[in-house]
């Protein structure tokens, strides 16, 4: 098999605060192949968005990447210089931000914001860039004349479409979607995801899709990575994960979503609350909430065990 497009090895990200050091991403290892859609699921605060920002090296100041490697097209992103990073950003890896409301500059027209990107990367002159911006907007279903519109003149769904058009402007190899539809209603959410899927099939970029909505993710992704308390706990192709989860946390997550197909069970929530990362539970971090906890779970932290060519889980019971 070829080398994967993105290969993350033992990545660690720490938030340094007065209360102590919080590890928001703890030894995460994950591959993304070309044109693959990898979903990253987990509760709030499980480190998903931090992972995304670490990949573009745009983490806000108190956060530092404290270890590991993230090889992208053969180069380690974490060791790139500021100039190399600028070339990588958007041209090779782009991102759709979580909040469509706040990620567009309110005082510059949406067209200008796309033009800025194209011009900064030398992809076009200002004149060319303008018509290219209009094309990009049309591609995501926004009429070309709206190129001069400002963010406040657009609906939430349209703003997120602008975010997508912007992310695809330079035809990157990897697009990170950081909870792209959290602020939107279900109908708009589905439209947008379908649109991304369609564009992905056409343009062939890989996607790292971050969300807390596991059901949505299972429909949308090829492979799913489940995060719990800053760690990767299970990795599996979407269909297999749905059919036979190997980590009790994944099982709990699946049970927590109502199923449209079967009218059998009421959704069930996982007891307890996600642990504080300031003082995570010893050994297996999920053991205080696990319904099948064993003695070993309290003693030793489970490793991420390879369970098949494309499957892995970090649970003593999966061995």
């Amino acid at each position: 098999m070829d080398e994967p497009l993105l290969s993350i090895r033992d990545l660690c990200v720490d938030y340094v605060s007065e209360a102590g050091c919080v590890r928001a991403v703890d030894h995460v290892t994950l591959d993304v192949s070309r044109a693959e859609i990898v979903g990253v699921a987990g509760e709030s605060g499980s480190g998903k968005s931090t992972l995304a920002q670490a990949l573009l090296r745009i983490l806000p100041p108190p956060a530092i990447i404290s270890g590991g490697e993230a090889r992208f097209e053969g180069r380690d992103i974490l060791t790139l210089s500021e100039t190399e990073l600028r070339e990588l950003r958007w041209r090779r890896i782009s991102m759709v931000f979580q909040s469509a409301m706040d990620s567009l500059n309110p005082v510059i027209s949406i067209g200008e914001q796309i033009v800025d990107t194209l011009v900064a990367h030398g992809a076009a002159t200002r004149q060319e860039a303008r018509s290219r911006a209009a094309e990009l907007l049309e591609m995501v279903g926004i009429p070309a004349p709206r190129v001069d519109a400002y963010a406040h003149q657009l609906s939430g769904g349209m703003r997120q479409r602008v975010g997508i058009a912007l992310a695809l402007a330079l035809e990157p190899a990897l697009v990170i979607l950081d909870e792209p539809t959290t602020a939107l209603d279900v109908i708009v959410e589905r439209e947008i995801l379908q649109q991304i899927r369609g564009l992905q099939e056409k343009l062939g970029f890989a996607v790292l899709f971050i969300t807390h909505d596991l059901a949505r993710m299972l429909q949308f992704s090829d492979r799913v990575a489940v995060f719990y308390a800053a760690q990767l706990v299970e990795l599996a192709p979407a269909a297999e994960l749905r059919r036979a989860p190997r980590h009790p946390y994944t099982e709990g997550l699946l049970r927590a979503f109502p199923s449209v197909q079967s009218d059998a069970d009421e959704p069930e929530s996982i007891p307890g609350a996600p642990p504080s990362l300031l003082s995570p539970p010893a050994a297996c971090r999920f053991h205080p909430r696990c319904d099948r906890v064993q003695a070993i779970c309290r003693e030793r932290q489970p490793d991420l065990i390879q369970l098949g060519p494309r499957r892995a889980a970090a649970c003593h019971l999966a061995e």
Binding site: Q53, L56, I58, P60, E82, L85, R86, E87, L88, R89, W90, R91, S94, M95, F97, Q98, S99, D102, S103, L104, N105, P106, V107, I108, S109, D116, T117, A120, H121, Y150, H152, Q153, L166
Partner: protein
Amino acid sequence: MRFVLRRLGFYLVAAWAALTLNFFLPRLMPGDPASALFARFAGRVSPEALQALRETFGLTDASIFSQYVTYLRHVLTGEFGISVAYFPTPVSTVIGTGLFWTIFLAGSAVLVSFTLGTLLGILAAWRRRGWVDTWLPSTFVFLGAFPYFWLAMVALYVFGFLLGWFPLGHAYGDDLAPGFNLTFLTDVARHAALPIATVVIATLGGWLLTMRNTMIGVLGSDYVNLARAKGLTPSRVVLRYAARNALLPSVTGFGMALGYVLGGSLLTEIVFSYPGQGYLLVQAVRNQDYPLMQGIFLVITLAVLGANWLVDLVYVWLDPRTREAS
């Protein structure tokens, strides 16, 4: 464009209200201001000046409505009567020269202070905890905390009197005839340097801190992070995406500071005996020169309104969100 005209309309109404107030206030005072004034000036001022005073106030025997119309016509034609203090110069001429020096002095002081403070604020926020950020805000806030007149007098004493680097007062040397030549302009600049510098030192801290604090907030926003992620150069991210947005609250402050330019430069002009609006106002009060006072008040009101209108226009140009808002 419609917005601009609507704002203009609003300011015209405000101006009319100010003019009307200026007309009615003397008439609302208890007693009869005219008799009191006439009694005080009797014998000391020529009949022409008294007549000017009467006309400025519109204190004729005509009905109040026709007085009001006369007053408005006088204002619109710049007819404020004859100055008592500078008799027999017309008030409009007196104000004209004063206004010129005030706009020049306080205008350039506020402009320099705003520009410099804002740029330093951007720099402080950009290089957070750097040299600029550590030292400049506290230094300038410290300097700004001194009473302004004290700061100005110390500066005048040290740099004007002891060291003799700058002249002690006035807008230009007594031995020079005003004219558009290099000698005169350098002299004007030399005279203005100290007053401008003291105003800048006293007010820079405010601009710096406002800009720095807004910038820090904006730098943490999603759209700035996105701009960074887009691979734009740091200077472009900071200037076009962060500073452009962080500037908005400062522009509002700038509009208000322009009011200070025309009304509040009093202390500067007194300390440096600068022949501007504030200095004239003091002269007017000292000499009970009511026509001049009334004229100055009017000019200040109108100028503040005009300045605010201009700032409104700049704001609309800077922030598209205000275009549809009203």
